[in-house]
């Protein structure tokens, strides 16, 4: 049990993967120190603690690093094994939650990135077309898993809410920048309502950045990246 441990989180406030960890730590009422990383000039600490991927977030518990946001979420649930729990208790429900988390990270979100990188309205529209099947799958998954309740996790935010919800800020930021809808609230009404509930939940509210702020960050980051690579 990690109560009483010194907890630090290495990350950047704008990273949805870092936001996931922040939400989980808040759910468990864990006090921690946030160490700001500079992604354009990665720190020794990051390179040493995550030599395999060199990516944030990295959670430190008594100086021991844990990497990969989904691994970290499960770690937090197990290291602070008190209610509220992040993963469901039933093994089959846990398997379903893990399946959809993997789907979101390995299939769905890469298409959001592809959308971001596509140049021109036509190319972007083609990516949205690719995404439509996955979006419907997520809408159906939400209806099935939530069983009529507010969140994937039931009455309270759980693993899948955190995994998908953390990405919403960036999805909306790209919708603003490109003036195109990625998550269509007519085609995905249940998820649209869940989106509002998730983003206004007290645990999440101060963690997921406002889309407008992310737009600002994105434009600044790309200017800087261009400058350093020239």
């Amino acid at each position: 049990m990690a109560t009483g441990s010194v907890v630090k989180l290495l990350g950047v406030w704008a990273s949805p993967f870092v936001n996931r960890v922040e939400i989980a730590l808040k759910i468990k009422s864990v006090e921690y120190e946030f160490i700001q990383e500079t992604l354009l000039n990665k720190s020794e600490l990051l390179l040493k603690s995550n030599p395999v991927y060199k990516k944030i977030p990295v959670l430190f518990c008594d100086e021991k690093p844990i990497c990969e946001s989904l691994v970290i979420l499960q770690y937090i649930d197990e290291a602070w094994p008190n209610s509220p729990f992040i993963l469901p208790s039933d093994p089959y429900d846990r398997a379903i939650a893990r399946f959809w988390a993997a789907y979101i990270d390995e299939k769905w979100f890469p298409l959001v990135v592809e959308f971001r990188n596509a140049e021109g309205k036509e190319a972007k529209a083609a990516v949205l077309e690719k995404m439509s099947e996955g979006n419907l799958l997520l809408e159906e998954a939400f209806i099935k898993i939530s069983k009529g309740k507010s969140f994937f996790g039931g009455e309270r935010i759980g693993y899948l809410d955190i995994v998908l919800g953390s990405l919403l800020g960036w999805v909306k930021a790209h919708e603003i920048m490109d003036e195109m809808k990625i998550l269509d609230d007519i085609k995905m009404p249940s998820l649209a309502e869940w989106d509002e509930r998730f983003c206004s939940d007290k645990v999440v509210k101060d963690i997921i950045p406002q889309p407008e702020k992310l737009v600002e960050v994105y434009r600044k980051y790309h200017k800087m990246k261009k400058a350093t690579s020239n």
Binding site: I66, Q74, Y75, R94, A95, A102
Partner: protein, 219 residues
């Protein structure tokens, strides 16, 4: 098929093998169904409509997908015997991290060894050997990845041992020469009945890949 355990699998699959090891470790009786990946069964398409991939564990009629998820499910349901994962949360996180790495990086790099065009072979070889060296470094001088006992990471990686001769042949290198620590480690793992029973004959892997490359139009 309402009760009981069914495994949809393909005999050469490294992902299937790790589930077979897990089931053997727990002494679970199950029905094994071999899938033809070029001609997938209606059952597979019904149980895994999104990815259409093996392995699929069907327990009491309900499908569980993705090999690491399946292994964790097995560990949680049949929790009274032969734990597959450590109990300490940090060690569990460590194991999940490396199993994820093996599933993502090593698998793709390995696939590129036997499916690359001639001009891409050298780059594919380098990437694969780099992945293996990283894993070899992680193993270090320990008997198993997690220390004194056979665990999840060993279970995830040992199936690749039956693929080593295939990688060697297509890559024209020697994994044994590049990563000597794996030899002793693999022999240690193979002493476990759950492993030796679940791993497939390396010659069968090679024959399968030769045939599969032809089907894919690579050969």
């Amino acid at each position: 098929m309402a009760d009981g355990v069914v495994l949809l699998d393909t005999y050469v699959s490294v992902f299937g093998m790790r589930v077979r090891i897990a089931l053997a470790e727990k002494g679970i009786q199950y029905e094994y169904k071999e899938e033809d990946l070029v001609n997938k069964s209606p059952l597979l398409l019904q149980m895994n409509p999104i990815h259409k991939k093996i392995p699929v564990l069907i327990h009491n009629g309900k499908p569980i997908l993705e090999s690491l998820i399946i292994v964790e499910y097995i560990d949680e349901v049949w929790k009274d015997k032969s734990p597959l994962m450590p109990s300490d949360p940090y060690k569990r996180a460590h194991a999940r991290f490396w199993v994820d790495y093996i599933g993502k990086k090593v698998y793709d790099a390995g696939r590129n060894i036997w499916s690359s065009k001639a001009e891409d072979q050298e780059a594919a070889n380098k990437e694969f050997i780099d992945c293996l060296k990283l894993l070899e470094g992680e193993l270090g001088d320990k008997p198993y990845f997690e220390g004194e006992n056979f665990g999840l990471v060993d279970m995830a990686f040992i199936p690749y041992y039956s693929w080593f001769p295939t990688f060697d042949k297509f890559g024209k290198f020697s994994i044994e020469a590049e990563c000597p620590k794996f030899v002793a480690w693999a022999k240690r793992c193979m002493q476990k009945e759950s492993v030796s029973k679940s791993l497939v004959d390396p010659e069968k892997v090679y024959d399968f890949i030769v045939m599969f490359r032809q089907k894919l139009g690579i050969a």
